[in-house]
Amino acid sequence: MTTKTLNASAAGTSVIPALFAVVLGLGILTLTGHVQASALHDAAHDVRHATGFPCH
């Protein structure tokens, strides 16, 4: 019983790290895959084509 309660409370706190990681991950993907600034675009060009991001 006690363990169950502890697990439940741990579960309650652990949404924020997951949310943070999703935002961070999507932020990285926006930079590597989508931002059209020419320095970024040129550096990521081949990767965008090979990974199926819309490139130019």
């Binding site: 652990s14 961070l24 990767v47 084509h49 090979a50």
Partner: protein, 250 residues
């Protein structure tokens, strides 16, 4: 004094901190490892096709010109342009780290709901991630060689993002929905972007032979699937390993 202000804003619990470090560490390991392997696979299998296409994009080779063009021009080898290929390696590792962070975060949510997360179940996570991020948008916005005609990049990015989002929700519903209604919603979400249709170019102007374009799309999809399956297995493995490590440390 400082101590009091620190505690006035509620400090993160040890469980939350441990979860932060478990997600970030396993995401970074999985993303860097899968990204490095993927980068090498792409450089070997995809990059030569892209460089070949660029010869037509730049006008060095002309398709349907006066005479037949050899299908085997001299192409620069692996790492012949170290800066370009090095940047590709770095950006592939970054991209797959981005994927990994999203995947591991969702794995942590699934595990809290009682689903086993390990290297083996990670294989399925990898397939689901591949469908979400690569195959679903690529089904209507096919992986394209440089030089092909395409609609405005902003419009395509909007369609791409919406398709990835709907496919992601659909894959989650298929995996964890567990009833007919959720499967039906998933099917509708998977179909909708393609029924609505991706932004298309006004006219065709691509100078690249169709053989090269087709090989590029096939290679991009194939290497993408291998990459995602690796990423899923690595993510599941490191998620397990990091969990055991922090338990042992506690």
């Amino acid at each position: 004094m400082t101590r009091r202000t620190m505690y006035a804003t509620q400090p993160a619990s040890p469980a939350t901190k441990a979860m932060f470090s478990r997600i970030l560490t396993s995401g970074l390991f999985a993303g860097a490892a899968a990204g490095l392997i993927t980068a090498l696979l792409q450089l070997y299998f995809v990059q030569p096709v892209l460089l070949h296409a660029e010869l037509y994009e730049g006008g060095e080779l002309v398709h349907f010109g006066a005479e037949a063009v050899s299908a085997h021009p001299d192409l620069p080898g692996l790492f012949a342009d170290p800066v370009r290929d090095g940047l590709s390696v770095i950006f592939t590792m970054l991209t797959y780290t981005g994927y990994a962070l999203v995947m591991v975060a969702l794995m942590s949510v699934a595990e809290r709901q009682g689903h086993a997360i390990n290297a083996r179940s990670g294989l399925l996570w990898g397939v689901a991630g591949y469908v979400t991020f690569h195959f679903a948008p690529g089904l209507s916005l096919a992986p394209e060689v440089p030089g092909v005609a395409a609609a405005d990049v902003g419009l395509r990015q909007i369609w791409w993002t919406a398709t990835v989002a709907t496919a992601g929700v659909a894959m989650w519903l298929i995996a964890f929905g567990g009833n007919m209604v959720s499967y039906l919603i998933a099917a509708l979400l998977l179909l909708a972007p393609h029924v609505i249709g991706a932004p298309e170019p006004e006219s065709f102007s691509g100078p690249v032979p169709t053989e090269i374009g087709a090989l590029f799309a096939a290679r991009a999809f194939g290497i993408g699937m291998a990459a995602w399956v690796l990423l899923g297995a690595f993510a599941g493995h490191f998620w397990q390993a990091e969990g055991k490590r922090s338990l042992a440390a506690a």
